[in-house]
């Protein structure tokens, strides 16, 4: 069953084409990686998925609830951590705004709950952004740069949590990640983007050993 279906999507920013006929799909409970160089158009695709940019051509359909961890965290700086999390559940109505499960998932946030999110470290803010997205109880979670600013141990525990959510709740994941090795090891399928187009798509394990991918994104020369 397809949860997210993007077909021939084109997005332009005042003239410059950021996405040029991109097609991508995500099945229920599927974990998919999206990798590509800086400026390839990954974040633009994420914005298009949540309707934050308009499609100039093509179509985006999302069947189910989609939440995203936006690029650059984008926390509510002068609201408390707890309020940030609560607002993540904005679409779910009153009862959907209980934040306690998030503190179980991200215990590091517990002691910080009363602090203004803007006063947290970069990695702590990233946790807030992830927790906020999870508050939406999404069917699909889109993460634009998971490991940004996070210590390896924190990344590892988040990856474990994502796996758990995937296993136990059937969470689908679209993961954008500069650490392609991490993305390809977590996900089952992957897309590779270049200059606004999808240039490769396939099984993550296969792509991980694909020459073009290793050369461009896995630092293949040094292996």
């Amino acid at each position: 069953m397809t949860l997210v279906d993007v077909s021939s999507l084109t997005v332009r920013y005042s003239g410059a084409t950021a996405l040029d006929g991109v097609s991508l799909s995500l099945d229920k409970s599927e974990m998919v990686a999206l990798i590509g160089a800086n400026g390839a158009g990954k974040s633009t695709l994420v914005k298009a998925l949540s309707g934050l940019v308009k499609a100039d051509a093509g179509r985006v359909t999302v069947d189910g609830r989609l939440a995203q961890v936006p690029e650059g965290r984008e926390v509510f700086a002068d609201l408390s951590v707890d309020d940030n999390l609560r607002l993540g559940g904005w679409r779910n109505g009153r009862r959907g705004r209980d934040t306690s499960a998030i503190y179980d998932l991200l215990p590091a946030l517990g002691p910080l709950r009363r602090r203004d999110a803007g006063t947290l470290s970069g990695g702590q803010q990233q946790m807030v952004a992830i927790g906020r997205a999870l508050m939406a109880r999404p069917d699909v979670l889109v993460i634009d740069e998971l490991s940004l600013g996070l210590a390896p141990l924190v990344v590892q525990s988040l990856v474990d949590h994502l796996r758990t959510l995937h296993r136990e709740r059937g969470l689908a994941l679209l993961l954008i990640e500069q650490n392609a090795r991490l993305a390809l090891s977590l996900c089952s399928r992957a897309y590779v983007m270049e200059a606004g187009r999808i240039v490769l798509v396939g099984d993550a394990a296969v792509l991980a050993s694909d020459e073009r991918v290793t050369a461009a994104y896995l630092g293949g020369h040094y292996e």
Partner: protein, 286 residues
């Protein structure tokens, strides 16, 4: 001494009116980035409407409440014109609200004429600590203080209030979590309309209104709010009260003719000092 107390209490009453206008400005500015020039018009419309409703035989409280509700609706209408079109920048919206403020003149004159209006408020004189002041000033204070408390609770304790604060804090993130930023903007305009309207209905019994009273109201309201950078309602309250007390003290001790000048100079000084401290004051974030 009792003179002094009397002036202070009267000043607090007048200042509460400024604070209400100012906090209406703040409510709108925080969420939308728009300095609403039509803010004074909300007060004028509500005041004029109250006088009509009272004349038509409606009782007090009901008349005032209806007028405040109408002011909130007018607020939404102003909001629709000012921010309704997506992508309008705050500078453009300021000019639009300026136009709406002038448009309100036309409407007000057609409906209520161009003569000053007033209506009786709480009658009688109260004696506090030897100071005799018009009881209505105490009523203004007695209404304003709980309104501000409720406002604070609304912004910090309710999800709707938090969503409004979220729009003020990070519009993009607000959209990311699914908050309808435009709708919140209109809600802020409704709130601003209600606060402006409340200022109008509360102060008119002690200070009659004309269709163009809005200029004085908005300038004083802005002066009250600018102290807190137009974003902090609590500071707008403090600023308004300070402004009111300063003005009555000046008037009371003989400088009556110069009270507006002092208020305006105070506002200019605050803005210039702020600008000197933070560098050129930057335009509101989009």
């Amino acid at each position: 001494m009792s003179d002094f107390l009397g002036y202070v209490l009267t000043g607090l009453g007048i200042g509460a009116g400024f604070a209400l206008v100012g906090s209406g400005l703040v409510a709108i500015y925080r969420v939308t980035g728009v300095v609403n020039f039509a803010q004074g018009a909300f007060a004028v419309i509500a005041a004029m409407l109250t006088s009509s409703l009272l004349t038509a035989g409606l009782p007090h409280v009901l008349s005032e409440s209806l007028a405040v509700v109408v002011a909130a609706v007018v607020g939404v209408l102003v909001g629709v014109v000012a921010i309704g079109k997506p992508g309008t920048d705050p500078g453009t919206s300021l000019i639009v609200t300026l136009g709406l403020g002038v448009f309100a003149y036309a409407v007000e004159i057609v409906l209520w004429g161009d003569q000053p209006r007033s209506f009786p408020g709480l009658s009688g004189v109260a004696t506090i600590g030897g100071a005799r002041i018009q009881a209505h000033y105490l009523l203004i204070i007695a209404v304003t203080v709980p309104v501000f408390a409720a406002l604070a609770l609304f912004f910090t304790r309710t999800d709707l209030g938090k969503a409004l604060s979220a729009c003020a804090s990070n519009k993009y993130a607000a959209r990311v979590v699914g908050i309808d930023v435009r709708r919140m903007g209109l809600l802020a305009f409704a709130l601003g309309g209600a606060l402006g309207g409340l200022a109008g209905v509360l102060t008119t019994p002690v200070q009659q209104v004309t269709f163009d009273s809005d200029v004085t109201l908005i300038v004083n309201g802005f002066a009250a709010a600018v102290l807190g950078g137009l974003t902090r309602p609590a500071v707008a309250l403090a600023g308004g009260l300070l402004l009111g007390v300063t003005q009555t003290l000046i008037a009371g001790y003989g400088g009556g003719a110069y009270q507006l000048e002092v208020a305006l100079l105070l506002m200019l000084t605050v803005m210039i000092v702020q600008a000197a401290r933070t560098g050129p004051v930057r335009e509101a974030a989009r």
